[in-house]
Amino acid sequence: MLYINCPHCGMRSQNEFSYGGDASVKRPELNKEVSDQEWDNFVYNRKSLRGKHLELWQHISGCRQWIKVERDTATHEIFRTFKADEEVA
C-alpha cells in the first residue's frame, strides 16, 4: 500500500485516496473550437508511461483536495507531491 504525502495533511496510506489519472492532461477551454484529434487526445489518449508519471489523486477520506503526485509507475516510488494549484517544475 502506497504511503502518500498529502501536501495538506501529511503522510497518509493509499486507502484514504482515490486515483485520478494523468495530471498533465489539460482540458480545452470552454467555448473554443476543438478538432476531433485534440478532443480525442483530451478524453481518451493517454501515454501509459513506464517510469516517472505526474498523476492526480484525491484525498477522498481526508481533506478532499485533489493533489498531484509524481510517482514511478514501475517501482511505485513517489518523488514529490503538489497542491492542485502548485506549478510543477
Binding site: 502506497l2 504511503y3 496510506s13 485520478g20 482540458r27 478532443w39 478524453v43 485533489w66 511505485h76 494549484d85
Partner: protein
C-alpha cells in the same frame, strides 16, 4: 501408551502437562510445547500422508514452515481447517487431525496406483492429457482431478471464529528472533526506537535454541531468553511470537499474521483467532535465517528421510528421536552437529560425507566421540516403502560422476544436509535485486530497494560472531538515525566452533541400470526426470519450467526445492545458476488463512450499513428492506401475507389514487455556495442555469467528458448565491468528487464551495392527487396552492415548529412534493405526515412502488443511465443546450452519437398483456434466427403497470425513435423465456405530463 521415541533430559517441552490427541482416529499422547509433528514422531508415527500426484507415502521432512509433506486436515472446537502443517501446529488437549490426499486410508491408498502408472504422469501431464476432447472436461477430467488432488477440504460451515486487523507504525520492524533479530532489536530498543520483533514460532531464539554455542558466557538459548525477557519489559518494544511476517509491500508496509488462538483447544472469549497486522515501518531488519536444503538421491521422498536440522530440532527442542539407527548424509559440517546430538543421547549414527577430506573443529568433535564417518560416500537410494528400512550407499569419485560398489546398510532414518539457503523472500518482495553468492551456492539480497537490511544467515552469513556484530551495529545505526540517541552497547564474546567449506554437490547420479525417482519438489512430486522433460520439450525460462512442471508451486512454495531445481536447470543448460535466475518471490511467504485476510469484513460488516432517521419507523411498520448501495431502504411495507408483487402494486395504486409517502433521505445532496455557483451549474449541467430564479428548482443532466450521462437530479436556488443539488443515491460520492475536480483543478477561478449534505437532511416524498391537501394541512400558514407553489417551485415552511424545505418536484409523475427537515427531526416529520395523512388514506410506499411509478411514466433512472447512454438515448436531448458549452458537449458530436439509427428509450408491452419480461432480456427481430442472434436492444427496467394493469418495460433499442409499433421478441436465455412484444412510447402514462402540473 508410551512415547517410544521420547528421550529424557532433552527438550523444551513441559513434561508436567500431558496432552491427548487423535490422529487418523487413533489416540496418542504428547506434551505441552509439542507440535503435532513432534508428538507423532515421539510415538513413532512417520506415515502422515500421501503425495499429491503419485500418492506415495509421506512422512516428515522438516520441523517448521518449510515442511513439504506433513499437511493435515485439522479439527478444533467443532471447526475444520485444511492445509495445516503438522510441523507448525502446536499440540493442545483434544486436538484431532487427519491425513489428506489419501482415499480410503493413509495405509491403503487407491491413488497410489498412479505411482505404478507414473510413466503416464510426467511433466505437463495435465496440460497434455486433459485437453481433448473438450466435452470430457466437465464430466470426466475435472471430477477426477478434484477427487484425486487437493490438500484437504474447506469447511462449508460459517466460520464462528473472529479475525481482526490492526494498523501499526514503528521505527524498526524485525522479521525473525534468531541471533540477528535479537541483537538488532536490543540495540535499537536501547536507543529508544519503537521496535516490533516478530517470530513465527512459539519460541523466540531461532537457531540459538538448537546450536551448541556460547554468548557472553551463557548458552545461546539462555542468552536469547535473557534478551527477550528484557525486551518485554521495555515500553517501546513489542515482541510477538506465533507471528509470521508474510508480505513486504510498497513503501515499507509489511503484513504479519499473528496466530492468537491456534495453539489452544478453543479461542478465549473476546479473543480473535488470528490478528493481521499492517505495519508501516521506517526501517526493516530482515533476520529470517536460512533453511537447510536436501541432497537429491533415489527414493529421497521415503518417510524417514528428513533434513538433518529438523532431526536436531526434534531432539533438542522436543526431546524426540526421529530414529534409533540414523544415517546422516551431508556435504557440509551441519550434518555432524546432528550426528553429535544423536551420539550424546546414546544413539550411534553413521555419517556419509560427500567430501573427501574435510577438517574442522566440529568434525574433530565427532571423531572424538567415536562417530562412524565415511568420507566420499553418498546415499544412492533409500529402501523401504512406508518407512526407511535401509539405504543403498556407495563411494563417489571426486568429480561426482562415478559411483563405487553399492552397499546396503540398515538404518531407520536418513538425515540429509545439502547446506543452507538464505530466506530472502521478504527482501526480494521489497524489490531487492538479489545476487548469487558462489561460496554458499545460493542467492542473497543485493542492493536494498526500500528501507530494508538483511543480516545473519538470511544474508548468507553463517558465523554467529559476525552476525551478532553486524546486527548490534545495524540496530544502533538504524535507531540512531531516527531517535538521535546513541547508547553504546558492548557486544558479548562468542564461542562457536569453526566449520569448513561445504561441498558443491547436490544430486547423486543414478547407478547403472537403476531408474530411481529422485525428487526435487516433494509436495508436488516433481522429479529430476520431469525437469529434464520440460527442458527437452523446449522450455527455457525458469518461470516457464516452474509452471510446466509445477516445481515450487505447492503450499510450501518450494522452500526446500527451488535451489536444487535451479542447479539442475543450469547443469542441463550448461549455464551458471545466476544466469538461469530464480523465479519471482511473491507474497505470502507461507499460506495465510482467508479468514485473517478478510478480518471483520464478513456478513453485515462486509460493507457499512446506512440507515435513514426514519428507519425504526419502517421496521415497526413491517418494511421489507432492500440494499440500495450501502443504504437500507424499504422495498415495500408488508401487510398480512402480501408478497412483494402484491404489496408494491397496492402502494403504487394508492399513490395514483390517494397519496403516498416515500423515504427519499438517501438521495445525494450537495450544498453549493458562492457568487459563481450558477456559472458552475451552467458548466456542469447540459441545460441553462444562469437565469433560474431564487425559489425555483430545475431538473438537470450532467455528462462525463466522453458524452455519457453521469447523473441526473434537481437543483434548487435557495437564495442568491446558494443552491441545493440532489443526485441519485448511487452517484452521490462520484458527483461530489466530480465537482471538486473541476473547482480545484480545471476552473480554480470560480468562487464556489461545495459540500455534501446528504446526511444533514431527511427527505419525504409526498405524491398523489391528494398530496396538496395533505401539504396544506401540514403547513397551514403557507400558500401551497398551484399559484403559491407551482411545479418546480420551492419554499420554506414551518412544520409544527420545525424548519422545513418544501420542493414541488415529482419522480412518480403525480402531483408531488418533497419535504426536507434536518435529520434529527426526520422521524418527527414522518410521523406528522402519517398522522395528518390518515384522512387522505395515506400509505407509505417503498422502492418497488417507486420504480413502478417512474417506469410507467418513462422517467429514466440508474438502469437507463447505466454509464453507456447519452442524453438522446434517454429522450433527454431537449435538455441539451445548443447555445452554451458544458462538460462533455464536444463528445456529443461523435459520429456514433449522432447516427440516424442511434439507440433510444422505448416502452415494451408483451402481446399477451400477461407475461412479465425479465430485466436484461434482449430484443430481437426473429426468435428463431441462428445464434448469435443479432441483438437490437435490451430491457432496462420492468414493472406491472398499475395504470393499465399489465406488464410494462422500458428498453434501450436501436433506432428506437422509428420502432414504435413494431413487433419484436424479448429473449431471456437465463430465464428460458421468449416473449412476443410490441414497442410503444416510453411515456406509457400521462404522456403530456399534466398531472405534475395540476
Amino acid at each position: 501408551m508410551t512415547q517410544a521415541f521420547r528421550i529424557e533430559n532433552s527438550g523444551l517441552i513441559n513434561r508436567d502437562k500431558k496432552l491427548s490427541f487423535k490422529f487418523n482416529g487413533k489416540t496418542y499422547f504428547g506434551y505441552e510445547g509439542d507440535t503435532l509433528a513432534s508428538a507423532l514422531l515421539a510415538n513413532g508415527v512417520h506415515l502422515v500422508g500421501r503425495s499429491f500426484k503419485y500418492h506415495r507415502p509421506r512422512g516428515f521432512f522438516g520441523a517448521g514452515v518449510d515442511e513439504p509433506y506433513a499437511v493435515v486436515q485439522l479439527y478444533r472446537n467443532g471447526e475444520t481447517e485444511p492445509n495445516i502443517k503438522a510441523t507448525e501446529q502446536e499440540l493442545f488437549e483434544g486436538l484431532e487431525a487427519k491425513s489428506v490426499n489419501c482415499w480410503p486410508s493413509v495405509n491403503f491408498d487407491i491413488g497410489a496406483i498412479n505411482n505404478f502408472l507414473r510413466i503416464f504422469l510426467p511433466a505437463g501431464f495435465y496440460y497434455k492429457t486433459f485437453m481433448w476432447p473438450k466435452s470430457f472436461w466437465y464430466r470426466i477430467y475435472e471430477p477426477f482431478i478434484r477427487k484425486a488432488a487437493g490438500l484437504g477440504v474447506a469447511s462449508i460451515k460459517h466460520d464462528k471464529e473472529r479475525y481482526e486487523h490492526k494498523y501499526e507504525y514503528c521505527d524498526l520492524l524485525i522479521a525473525g528472533s534468531g541471533p540477528s533479530g535479537l541483537a538488532g532489536a536490543y540495540a535499537a530498543a536501547k536507543n529508544g526506537a519503537k521496535v516490533i520483533l516478530a517470530e513465527d514460532k512459539p519460541r523466540f531464539g531461532g537457531s540459538l535454541l538448537t546450536s551448541d554455542v556460547n554468548i557472553g558466557n551463557q548458552s545461546g538459548k539462555d542468552w536469547a531468553e535473557g534478551i527477550i525477557a528484557e525486551l518485554k519489559t521495555m515500553p517501546n518494544v513489542v515482541v510477538k511470537n506465533r507471528s509470521q511476517i508474510f508480505g513486504y509491500y510498497d513503501h515499507n508496509m509489511l503484513v504479519m499474521s499473528e496466530k492468537v488462538s491456534d495453539h489452544l483447544p478453543s479461542t478465549k472469549k473476546y479473543h480473535p483467532n488470528k490478528r493481521l497486522w499492517y505495519i508501516r515501518a521506517k526501517e526493516v531488519l530482515i533476520s529470517s535465517g536460512s533453511i537447510e536444503r536436501p541432497i537429491v538421491f533415489g527414493n529421497n521422498d521415503t518417510p524417514g528421510v528428513m533434513l538433518s536440522s529438523a532431526a536436531k530440532e526434534y531432539l533438542k527442542v522436543y526431546g524426540v528421536l526421529v530414529g534409533k539407527k540414523p544415517l546422516v548424509f551431508t556435504n557440509n559440517d551441519s550434518g555432524y552437529e546432528t550426528a553429535i546430538e544423536f551420539k550424546k543421547h546414546g544413539v550411534d549414527p553413521v555419517v556419509l560425507d560427500s567430501r573427501k577430506n574435510p577438517e574442522s573443529e566440529i568434525i574433530d568433535e565427532a571423531k572424538n566421540l567415536g562417530i562412524n564417518i565415511k568420507n566420499s560416500y553418498v546415499v544412492v537410494a533409500a529402501q523401504g516403502y512406508k518407512k526407511v528400512k535401509s539405504a543403498d550407499i556407495a563411494s563417489i569419485s571426486e568429480d561426482k560422476k562415478q559411483l563405487g560398489k553399492i552397499e546396503n546398510i540398515q538404518c531407520d532414518c536418513i538425515c540429509v544436509s545439502g547446506f543452507w539457503t538464505p530466506t530472502i523472500h521478504l527482501a526480494s518482495q521489497s524489490g531487492n535485486k538479489t545476487k548469487f553468492k558462489e561460496e554458499i551456492d545460493a542467492f542473497v539480497p543485493g542492493q536494498s530497494k526500500q528501507n530494508e537490511i538483511t543480516l545473519g544467515a538470511a544474508n548468507g552469513v553463517f558465523s554467529l560472531e559476525e552476525t551478532l556484530k553486524t546486527s548490534f551495529t545495524a540496530g544502533s545505526e538504524l535507531s540512531k538515525k531516527i531517535t538521535e540517541n546513541d547508547n553504546k552497547i558492548s557486544i558479548p564474546n562468542v564461542v562457536e566452533k569453526k566449520s569448513s567449506q561445504h561441498d558443491k554437490f547436490w544430486c547423486v547420479p543414478l547407478p547403472k541400470g537403476k531408474n530411481y525417482k529422485r525428487f526435487l519438489d516433494f509436495q508436488n512430486d516433481v522429479a529430476v526426470s520431469d525437469i529434464e522433460i520440460a527442458l527437452r520439450e523446449g522450455y527455457r525460462s525458469i518461470e516457464h519450467v516452474k509452471r510446466y512442471t509445477t516445481l515450487g508451486m505447492a503450499t510450501d512454495q518450494g522452500k526446500t526445492s527451488n535451489l536444487n531445481g535451479l542447479q539442475l536447470v543450469s547443469e542441463i543448460e550448461n549455464k551458471v545458476v545466476p544466469a538461469v535466475g530464480h523465479t519471482t518471490f511473491r507474497p505470502p511467504y507461507t499460506p495465510v488463512s482467508i479468514g485473517a485476510i478478510v478480518g471483520r469484513e464478513v456478513g453485515k460488516h462486509s460493507k457499512p450499513t446506512r440507515k435513514s432517521p426514519m428507519h425504526s419507523w419502517h421496521e415497526k411498520n413491517n418494511a421489507v428492506f432492500v440494499d440500495a448501495g450501502v443504504w437500507l431502504r424499504p422495498r415495500y411495507y408488508k401487510r398480512g401475507n402480501e408478497n412483494l408483487f402484491e404489496g408494491s402494486k397496492r402502494e403504487a395504486k394508492n399513490v395514483r389514487t390517494n397519496v403516498g409517502v416515500c423515504d427519499v433521505t438517501t438521495l445525494g445532496k450537495i450544498d453549493i455556495k458562492g457568487p459563481d455557483a450558477a456559472e458552475l451549474l451552467n458548466r456542469v449541467y447540459t441545460n441553462a442555469w444562469l437565469k433560474l430564479p431564487v425559489g425555483k428548482a430545475r431538473y438537470g443532466v450532467m455528462l462525463r467528458e466522453d458524452g455519457i450521462v453521469m447523473d441526473d437530479g434537481t437543483t434548487t436556488r435557495i437564495s442568491e448565491n446558494h443552491y441545493h443539488m440532489t443526485t441519485t443515491t448511487a452517484q452521490a460520492a462520484n458527483v461530489l468528487s466530480h465537482l471538486e475536480y473541476y473547482l480545484q483543478l480545471v476552473w480554480p477561478e470560480l468562487n464556489v464551495n461545495v459540500v455534501s449534505t446528504t446526511e444533514q437532511w431527511a427527505g419525504a416524498a409526498i405524491a398523489g392527487p391528494k398530496s396538496r391537501d395533505l401539504l396544506q394541512k401540514l403547513f397551514p400558514n403557507s400558500d401551497v396552492s398551484n399559484e403559491g407553489l407551482p411545479f418546480m417551485g420551492y419554499m420554506e415552511g414551518d412544520l409544527y415548529g420545525v424548519k422545513a424545505r418544501i420542493f414541488r418536484i415529482s419522480f412518480s409523475g403525480e402531483l408531488a412534493y418533497e419535504v426536507n427537515v434536518e435529520s434529527d427531526y426526520g422521524n418527527f416529520m414522518w410521523e406528522k405526515i402519517m398522522e395528518a395523512g390518515e384522512e387522505f388514506n395515506i400509505q407509505p410506499y417503498g422502492t418497488e412502488a417507486l420504480s413502478t411509478l417512474r417506469i410507467e411514466m418513462g422517467h429514466v433512472a440508474g438502469s437507463e443511465l447505466d454509464g453507456r447512454t447519452i442524453p438522446f438515448d434517454n429522450a433527454l436531448e431537449g435538455l441539451v443546450s445548443k447555445k452554451k458549452d458544458f462538460i462533455g458537449k464536444r463528445s456529443l458530436q461523435r459520429s456514433a452519437f449522432i447516427a440516424e439509427d442511434r439507440q433510444r428509450i422505448v416502452g415494451v408491452v408483451p402481446l399477451d398483456k400477461q407475461t412479465s419480461i425479465p430485466e436484461g432480456s434482449h430484443l430481437v427481430k426473429d426468435d428463431k434466427a441462428p445464434l448469435p442472434n443479432p441483438k437490437l436492444g435490451h430491457i432496462s427496467a420492468s414493472c406491472w403497470s398499475v395504470e393499465y394493469d399489465n406488464p410494462f418495460s422500458l428498453a434501450i433499442l436501436k433506432d428506437g425513435k422509428n420502432m414504435i409499433g413494431q413487433k419484436l421478441f424479448a429473449m431471456s436465455p437465463l430465464k428460458n423465456k421468449v416473449i412476443p412484444v410490441e414497442i410503444v412510447s416510453s411515456h406509457y402514462v400521462d404522456p403530456k405530463g399534466e398531472r405534475v402540473r395540476s
